[in-house]
Amino acid sequence: MSETNVILGVIGSDCHAVGNKIIDTVLTGEGFRVTNLGVMVSQDEFIDAAIEVGAGAILVSSIYGHGEIDCAGFRGRCIERGLEDIVLYVGGNLVIGKRDFSEVETLFKDMGYDRVFPPTVDIKSVAQSLRQDIAARQ
């Protein structure tokens, strides 16, 4: 398993493509080998890709507000399919409406995501955390 292989995608029925392309560019520039599944990716598609390339992390984006539905149960599904140690990140506009970010963060951490990001996060800082978190799981 390479520590720099990561899976990227926009989960569910979400078609927001712009941020996805930018994240891909920045992470690639930061030295990650990014498998970008693009928009409208199912949980199993993420997991299939992670198994195929031996990824150290899955980065889930959700912009359209259905994150609460689309992202639920993902950690359990990863464990079921043998990805016990994979780093799981999620970021975007994860819920419907303007809610306090700390509340949203708790909600998604409780779902088993290692880190939760608002849409305004600096991708380079995400890259840094990612490197550390993947190394820590080795």
């Binding site: 029925s13 928009v39 409208m40 507000g65 259905h66 539905i69 819920v95 419907i96 303007k98 305004t120």
Partner: protein, 481 residues
């Protein structure tokens, strides 16, 4: 059957209809003839086309929000809350329904009921069905439009039009390329022929339904000629199926002169192309979308973005403006934030509507530029289709002749790269395979070079990325800091 831009014959339509109406249980409640009677029973105050005609006559710009939640009663409350502050109402459809994932929408409804708050980003009209949709229309006093992003919107159209919605957004290109990943373009065009034909059938029974191709496409630095080409094609395809009331759209780019030139050229080009194709009996209007790209998180700053769009819409003379909210950076807004967007827009429209943006050589040049770009691309589309617009469209997209920047659809070339020039107008950095006259390409290149010199850096994809995030970071142009 091969896709052609030709009015669907009734046999084809009706056999297809049987299949559409049984694709989800709520389809069975719809009876077209009864739907016509219901539409005819609506007062004129609920008819979209009448409101648009009056606005165009009076030179006013109408206000329309986006709004939609999972549950019917909450959806009604939301629209009633907004109704006083706008002229036209929406029902924004949730993302599951847009992809015909009605089971998931059902799950979203159930979870929303349980949570006591909407977990869907819109109103799942198909799941709610005819009578619940009618309850929405009947609870309101203003015209209601279906706004969505659905490549196959046939069942949604059948249900909502029979339910008394009087306007329907979308189109085979504009609701595929920015909204879907793997839907073949010929399929979405064919499905939208069905929707347009359905609107045409209502029209034949004396019921005017407004049809609005979705103007902003990916909402990300789309050059005016790109969205104009799509709007004009979808307008022509709709007219062929018997639609008579067409609203063509454009999303704010941010440079005032370019935005005004865009709306003015769009209207003129529409008459040019519609009449050249032999259509004379149609009602044309325009819609200006406030900035569709990323917004600043800061609400005071978001108000500024909203106001800049409202001012441009009024100065451009758009028939209606689609309004953003100060919560835009955080996704779906509260109803209060939604109303605030409308209030800010109202004030700006009222302060600008009587003012006249002076004609000038600069504005003329921008209008002429857009017209030449559109004519050049559309000539190629017709050529590729060997005279058939639908075929030409499929081939033009495949060939990268029609190319929408930053769109998710795999059928889209994605080779054209836009970038702002030194005054913030959206220009072409990399034309891909879009056929534009040499002098036009030179013009774009010169404008981009001028900016690059001013910024003492090469034009590059980094400059494009900087532009994409500029407004959310409180700039129009993504200059290096």
């Amino acid at each position: 059957m091969q896709l052609r831009n030709k009015k669907l014959d009734m046999d084809t339509f009706l056999s297809e209809r049987t299949e559409v109406m049984t694709s989800w249980p709520t389809g069975k409640d719809v009876d077209f003839e009864e739907g016509v009677l219901y539409q005819l029973s609506l007062p004129e105050s609920k008819r979209f086309s009448s409101a648009l005609a009056a606005a165009d006559r009076e030179g006013r710009t109408l206000r329309q929000p986006r709004a939609g939640v999972a549950l019917v009663d909450e959806h009604i409350k939301l629209l009633q809350f907004l109704e006083d502050t706008c002229d036209l109402l929406p029902s924004t459809i949730d993302a599951y329904t847009r992809l015909n994932h009605y089971e998931k929408a059902a799950e979203g409804i159930a979870r929303s009921t349980a949570a006591g708050t909407s977990l869907l980003n819109g109103f799942p009209a198909v799941n709610h069905g005819l009578n619940e949709c009618r309850r929405v229309v009947e609870s309101l006093t203003k015209p209601v439009q279906v706004r969505h992003g659905t490549p196959d919107a046939r069942l949604l159209a059948e249900i909502t039009l029979a339910a008394g919605f009087t306007a329907y957004e979308g189109g085979g290109i504009s609701y595929n390329i920015p909204y879907a990943k793997k839907v073949p373009l010929d399929r979405s065009l064919r499905h939208w022929q069905y929707c347009d034909r359905l609107v045409g059938l209502y029209e034949e029974r004396g019921v005017r339904i407004n049809r609005e191709p979705f103007g902003p496409l990916s909402g990300t630095l789309v050059p005016p000629f790109v969205s104009h080409c799509v709007a004009l094609i979808e307008g022509l395809l709709a007219l062929e199926q018997g639609c008579k009331c067409i609203t063509l759209g454009y999303g704010q780019a941010g440079n005032l002169v370019q935005d005004i030139a865009a709306i003015r050229s769009l209207r003129e080009l529409a008459h040019e192309y519609f009449q050249a194709a032999g259509y004379t009996d149609y009602q044309l209007s325009t819609v200006f979308h406030q900035w569709m790209g990323g917004f600043p998180e800061n609400e005071a700053m978001a108000f500024s973005v909203i106001c800049s769009g409202a001012a441009a819409a009024a100065l451009a003379g758009a028939t209606k403006v689609i309004v953003k909210t100060p919560h835009e950076a955080s996704g779906v807004p509260t109803k209060e934030a939604n109303k605030q967007g409308l209030e800010a827009t109202t004030q700006m429209l009222n302060m600008v509507r009587e003012q006249i943006f002076p004609m000038s050589p600069t504005l003329d040049q921008e209008i002429e530029l857009i017209k030449r770009e559109v004519r050049s691309v559309l000539a190629k589309v017709f050529e590729l289709g060997e005279g058939d617009l639908a075929q030409g469209t499929v081939r033009a997209v495949a060939a990268g002749v029609l190319d929408v920047p930053f769109a998710p659809a795999s059928c889209n070339a994605g080779k054209l790269l836009p970038v702002r020039d030194n005054v913030g107008a959206v220009r072409i950095f990399e034309p891909g395979r879009v056929p534009l006259p040499d002098d036009v390409l030179t013009f774009h290149r010169d404008r981009v070079s001028e900016r690059a010199r001013a910024e003492k850096r090469e034009a590059s994809s980094q400059m494009v990325v900087d532009d994409i995030y500029a407004i959310s970071k409180s700039r129009l142009i993504g200059r290096p800091r």
